[in-house]
C-alpha cells in the first residue's frame, strides 16, 4: 500500500500483513509493537495497531477487510524482529479476509513492482 503495509494472501483467503523494509528503515529501532486482539474484525483503512520507536509512533492500517486469526506474539518480547526481517519473521498479523474480498481488486493495493516505483518517486 502507499502507507507501506504489505499483504500476502494464500489460496484459502488467509493472509499475512506486515510493513515494508522501507518503512522499518524510516522508523528506526522498534521498541514496541501494538497488535489487535485475535478475533477482532477490522475494516480496510482502520487502524490495525502501531509500531513505536524511541522517536516516533506509526499507525498501521488494515490493507483489506478481514478478521484477525493470529498475531505475531514473538514481537512482544522482540520488537526488533520487525527491523531485521520485516517481510518474513517480522509479520504482524495473520487474518482471514472478509467474504467477497478479492485482493486483486481491492482499491489501494499495489503489486511489489508498482510499490517500488512509488518509492523511487518519493525520493
Amino acid at each position: 500500500t502507499s502507507q507501506h503495509e504489505w499483504i500476502a494472501v494464500h489460496q484459502d483467503k488467509t493472509a499475512f500483513v506486515g510493513i515494508t523494509k522501507y518503512a522499518t528503515d524510516a522508523l528506526g529501532d522498534a521498541t514496541y509493537v501494538e497488535l489487535p486482539e485475535v478475533g477482532t474484525e477490522i475494516a480496510q483503512g482502520e487502524s490495525l495497531g502501531s509500531i513505536e520507536s524511541v522517536k516516533s509512533a506509526s499507525e498501521i492500517y488494515q490493507p483489506a477487510d478481514g478478521t484477525v486469526e493470529e498475531i505475531n506474539t514473538n514481537l512482544e518480547e522482540n520488537p526488533g524482529v520487525v527491523n531485521e526481517d520485516p517481510m518474513g519473521d517480522g509479520w504482524l498479523v495473520k487474518m482471514k479476509l472478509g467474504e467477497g474480498v478479492n485482493v486483486e481488486q481491492v482499491e489501494g493495493l499495489m503489486s511489489l513492482e508498482q510499490y517500488e516505483k512509488t518509492l523511487v518517486h518519493d525520493d
Partner: protein, 1034 residues
Amino acid sequence: MLRTRVTALLCRATVRSSTNYVSLARTRSFHSQSILLKTAATDITSTQYSRIFNPDLKNIDRPLDTFARRHLGPSPSDVKKMLKTMGYSDLNAFIEELVPPNILKRRPLKLEAPSKGFCEQEMLQHLEKIANKNHYKVKNFIGKGYYGTILPPVIQRNLLESPEWYTSYTPYQPEISQGRLEALLNFQTVVSDLTGLPVANASLLDEGTAAGEAMLLSFNISRKKKLKYVIDKKLHQQTKSVLHTRAKPFNIEIIEVDCSDIKKAVDVLKNPDVSGCLVQYPATDGSILPPDSMKQLSDALHSHKSLLSVASDLMALTLLKPPAHYGADIVLGSSQRFGVPMGYGGPHAAFFAVIDKLNRKIPGRIVGISKDRLGKTALRLALQTREQHIKRDKATSNICTAQALLANVASSYCVYHGPKGLQNISRRIFSLTSILANAIENDSCPHELINKTWFDTLTIKLGNGISSEQLLDKALKEFNINLFAVDTTTISLALDETTTKADVENLLKVFDIENSSQFLSEDYSNSFPREFQRTDEILRNEVFHMHHSETAMLRYLHRLQSRDLSLANSMIPLGSCTMKLNSTVEMMPITWPQFSNIHPFQPSNQVQGYKELITSLEKDLCSITGFDGISLQPNSGAQGEYTGLRVIRSYLESKGENHRNVCLIPVSAHGTNPASAAMAGLKVVPVNCLQDGSLDLVDLKNKAEQHSKELAAVMITYPSTYGLFEPGIQHAIDIVHSFGGQVYLDGANMNAQVGLTSPGDLGADVCHLNLHKTFSIPHGGGGPAGAPICVKSHLIPHLPKHDVVDMITGIGGSKSIDSVSSAPYGNALVLPISYAYIKMMGNEGLPFSSVIAMLNSNYMMTRLKDHYKILFVNEMSTLKHCAHEFIVDLREYKAKGVEAIDVAKRLQDYGFHAPTLAFPVPGTLMIEPTESENLEELDRFCDAMISIKEEINALVAGQPKGQILKNAPHSLEDLITSSNWDTRGYTREEAAYPLPFLRYNKFWPTVARLDDTYGDMNLICTCPSVEEIANETE
C-alpha cells in the same frame, strides 16, 4: 483635536524630565509629522527605553525600586551597541523593519496600573491590600476534593519558594534534570504504591480532567465503538461537569447510576456498549463502597473487556484497601492534601495510575529508569511516543504541561513524613471524624448522619426544621467555620490534617451536641474498620525512611535541586517556551495565607480579594490581546486550545452550524494543536507551508474552499512556530472568515506581540495565552501553567461556567459550555504572578518586553549567522529578521555524523540548557533568549555555540577530537573514573573546560548521555524496591 492632545502630552513629558527635553525637541523639529503620529501610538523608541530604565531623581513621587529595569536584561547603552551590530540606531526603527507595517499597530495599552508601573514595594503593598480582602482565617470544612493541609516549612522554603525548583523546565534534557526526575519518580512510586497499580504518571492537571482522561482511555480501548460511559452518582459535582464537557465531542452518553444499589448498577455495567465506569472511593458524601460491591463492579465490566476507573484520595488510601485489590484498571485523583495549599482551586497535581496492560495508553509524562552511556542508572521521561508532540491528531490525549512543581511538593511531603507519619495523619483525621460522627449519631443530636461509613467526610440531614442556610450562617458567624450545603436541608463537612480539638468542639456546638467532653475523650485512631483496612506495608522504599529530620530533609532537597539546571544557573534559551524572569516580588504572594488558604467553593463574599485581582487581570489581558472577553478557567496551554475550540463549536452550534467540523492546521503547528482539535471532535486538515517557512496561502484557500461547508476553524500560531512575522496573516484570517470558519490564534508566541500588535487587532476570534510563557508564571519543571482564552464578543456567552459555584467575575450563562477544569478559575493561586508582572511593567514598560525579546534574539542570530545556517531568515528569504526566536539548521552535518542532539548535549558541558530540539523542524535547534537576559549572558551563549562549531568542524574533518560531541555531556564520573582517556582524542580539560569562564562557573551534568532505547524497552517507573536494591548489592 489630535494635535492639541499630542502637544499637551509632549509638554507634560518635557516638564517632568528636563533631560529628555533636548532629544524630544530635536526629534520633533526634524520629523514633526511623524512624531505626532507616533506619540499617539505606543512609544518604543530608544529614548523611551532609557526613560523607563533610568531613574528620574527629580521626581520624588516615584521610588527607585522600579521593576522594568530588573526584568529587562540589556541596559540602554547595551541596546545601542546591539542595535549597531545590526545597523540600527533606534529601537523603533528596528521594530518597524522587523514587524510588517500592516501588522504593527502600536495600539496603546490601557492597563489598570500606573503608566510606568508599580515599583516593587508598592506592588507588594498593593497586593497585600487586595489579599486581605479574602477571608483566609475562616476554617474550611467544605471538602469536596479540596482539604486543609500543612505544607511543611522546610518544603515551602526549599522547594515551593525556591527558584532552583520553580524556574526549571520540563526535564527533556535528563542529564541536567536528575533531581526533579527523582522527585517525580518518588511521586509515581507513592501513587503506584497507594493505588496498588504498577504504572503511574508524573501528574495531570486536576481531578476532573484526570477523570476525563480515564473516560477517553476506556473509550479508546473499545476502539471508539462503545458509546456509553457509566459514572457513580456520588462523584464530586465538578468532576461530573468536566466529564460531560469531555464526552460531548465524541457523542459518548454518560449514564449516572447509584452504586450503592449494586444490583442495578451491575445490570447497567453488563451492557456491552459500556466502555467503562468511574466510581469515587471514598464517595463525595463520605461513604465507602463495600469491598464486595467494588468487586462486582469490576467483574461486570471485565466480563466484556471494559475498564473500571476509581477516583480516590491518597490520604485515605494510606489506610484503605487499594482499589487495585478489587480489580480497578485505572485509579486517579488529586494529591492536593499532601502539602499543597488549596489556593482557590489550584494548581494541584492530579495523579493517574493504570494496570500494566495500559502502560502505552496512559496520558501524560512518565519518568522511567534507564541507564547512561557508562551504564550508570539514570532517569528520563519515558515512552514519549504516546504523547501529542509525536502522535498529533492520533494522540488519545492532548496533555502537555502538567503540575510537576506540585507533584514534587506532594512527593516531598511523603518523603518527609514517611509511611508511619502519613498513616498517623490519616488516623488522626479518621479519629476526629469518628468522634463527630458518633456524636451526631447519638440520640441527643437532632440531626441524622447519612453516610454510615466514612474516612474524613460526613453528610448530615438536618433535623429540628433547621435549613442548611441557617446552619451555615450559624457556623460562620459564631465559629468562623465554612460548611458545604448539599441541598436545602443537607450539609456535608470534611476534616483534615489541620483540624484541632477546638475545631471539633466548635463543630459539636454547631450541631447542638451537648456533653462534648464525653465524645472528645474517645480515641478511634485504631478503629478503622477492618473490612476496609489495607494490610500491606506501604512505601517500603528507602527514600521514604531516611529524611524525617529537618536537617536530613533540607539536605535531600538541596541535593536534588543541585543536580538540576534552572534559570538560577544560566539562560534556558528554549524556543517557543519563553523562559523569562519569574521575579521574586511576583512569586512572593503565592505562599501568603491570604491567597493560599482559600477554598474554591467559599462563598463569593469571602473571596473579594480574588475577585478584585481576577477582574483587573481579565481587563488587562483583554487590553493586551485586543479582545472583549476572557476565561481564566483552562489550566494549561493544551487545555486552552481545547476550550477555545469547544467555545467555537458551541457558537457554531447556536447558529445551527453543528455540521462544521473541519479544523485547518498548518503542518508547522505544535503537536497540541491537532491533538486538541481531535479531542474537540474536529477533523484535522493540514495546511502546507512554503519553502521560506510561511503559510501557503494558496493551499489554505484551496482547503478552505474544498471544505467550505464543514469548515469550523483554523488554528494559527503567530508569529509562526518558525519565529516569523508573516505579513500574510490578515489575509489568511480573511480567507477563513469568508468561508464561515472561526479563527483561533495560538498565543504561544505572544511574547513577540505585546503592545505592538495583538490577535484581536489582527482579526482573530479566539486566542489562548500561556501565562507561564508570556506573563511570567514559572515553568515549575513541567507545570503549573495558566492558559486563559480571550475571545471576541460573539463568543463570550459560550465561555465555560462552573457547576458548584458562580463565577465571581460574572462569566457564564445558558449558552456556556460545561467546565473544562475542576476549579472555577483553574490555577487561581498563580494568577497574582501575572498580575504583578503586568502591573509592575505598566503601559509604557510592557511593550518593551516584546521589543527587547526581539532585539535579543536578532542580536544572537546576527552573531551566529556567520557560523551556522539560519533557517528561513537567510539569503534565500525576503525576511531580514526573526521575531523573538530563530532556528539554527544543523541538518547538513547529519551525513557527516553530527546531529542536533550532539550539539544539545555538548551545550551542557558549557553550562547551558539546550534550545528547543527538533521542533518545529527535525534536525534543528530553536533559540529564544527572552527579554530578561543581559548582553553578557547572550554573548556567553553565542561564544559557546561558536566554540561548538569548531568541534563540529573537527568531527566533520574526521579528527578524533570531534568525538567530544558524541561523548557529551561529560559527567564528573566520566572524567574521573573512565579509563579510556588516552584513546579519546581529546583531553579531560577540553571536555570540561572548553571556554575559560567555565573554570569559575561550571555546572556539572550528573550523568552521561541517556540511553533512550533501553529505557523504552524496559519500562520501570517506580523507585527500585527494597528487594531490588538488596539484589543489586549482593
